[in-house]
């Protein structure tokens, strides 16, 4: 049968203490990590829905800095989540335009996160007609 030495019986009490501290630490960490914070990350600017017959030169600048606010825990993995700032080019014509970046241009992975600022607020984009050879 499973026999227990006196020291093992007392060890069980120590394990309860240690587990209590662990649960308290995890609970505390959960609360701490829900505190609001802000982080700044550089994301690439990407063009979408470019009209047919137009080609896009690289936007200037190629990357913008976004400031995201939300619970700390959600901000931790944000730099690794492959964010990008998307520009909808469907209504544009040939020429150089100044595209104003909105907070909604960045798709965030969680509803608890919010884009506070995008810097610079606008990027210059050149669209040229594709000439058929």
């Amino acid at each position: 049968m499973a026999e227990m030495t006196p020291s093992k019986m007392l060890e069980a009490g120590v394990t309860v203490k240690l587990l209590s501290v662990l649960v308290a630490a995890l609970l505390w960490l959960t609360v701490m990590m829900e505190r609001p914070a802000e982080t700044k990350i550089l994301v690439p600017v990407m063009a979408e829905h470019v009209p047919a017959g137009l080609s896009l030169a690289a936007p200037s600048p190629a990357k913008v800095e976004i400031t995201v606010s939300g619970p700390r825990i959600l901000l931790l993995m944000l730099p690794l989540s492959g964010l990008s700032c998307r520009m909808d080019m469907s209504a544009t014509q040939a020429g150089t335009i100044l595209y104003v970046l909105r907070q909604s241009s960045v798709q965030l992975p969680d509803r608890g996160l919010q884009v506070v600022r995008v810097a610079p607020a606008a990027v210059s984009v050149s669209l040229a007609k594709i000439t058929a050879r």
């Binding site: 049968m1 030495t5 019986m9 069980a12 587990l19 209590s20």
Partner: protein
Amino acid sequence: MNVLLQDIEVVRDLLDLSLAAFIIYRLARLQKEVLALRILAVLAALLAGHLLARLFYLQTVRLLLDTFLFSSVVVLAVIFQTDIRRAVASFTRSRSGRDVEMSDVIDELVFAVAGLSQKRIGALIVIERGIQIDNYLAVGTDIDAKVTSELISSIFLPYSPIHDGAVIIQHGKLTKAGCFLPLTQNLEVSKSLGTRHRAAIGLTELVDAVVVVVSEETGTISVVVGGKRSDILDPPALGKMLRRLVEQRWLK
């Protein structure tokens, strides 16, 4: 000024963490250790899972774990209801005249057990702790007397009509004798163990009580807690162990 504010924040966080650990530990100690360990392990796993799910934006897993976490409060309240009721009652109850000297009870018990062991008289003594054991006791004779070594010794004398069952100590008083306890169904329990040991293991598998067994054949003293048996070499070691296992509040 900023450094001072940061220091205050660190102290506040440490205080927060320490108080939370203390409250969780006190709540855990209301239950028997095996159950407390399981509850704490499940809570730790749920909290760790919640943190990981939140960290990696796993929203469905998080929803599932959060549901378990929130409902665990209700589940724990149901599990702890007897203890919560008793804790509330003990706050309101006057303590005057009810205090039983812990050392008296343990000393009397150790003295009786030492005598019984020496004479190779079998004995089975149950000390109730956090969980009530009344529901697990069959038959038995109500006694409700002060714990004395003479009384315990006389109950277990072979010609006593109630020597075959267990003596129950609840709130520092010898409340019952000749009680039959549930026998263990564990197949791993050695076949060489007698009915007393099997009964001690059986009861402690169900509740957090401490059971002292004196073997009739060898005179060996054993302490059984949480379904685990531990042989005690001598009476002083028994006293030391009982003082560690049985808290003052359980003898009041």
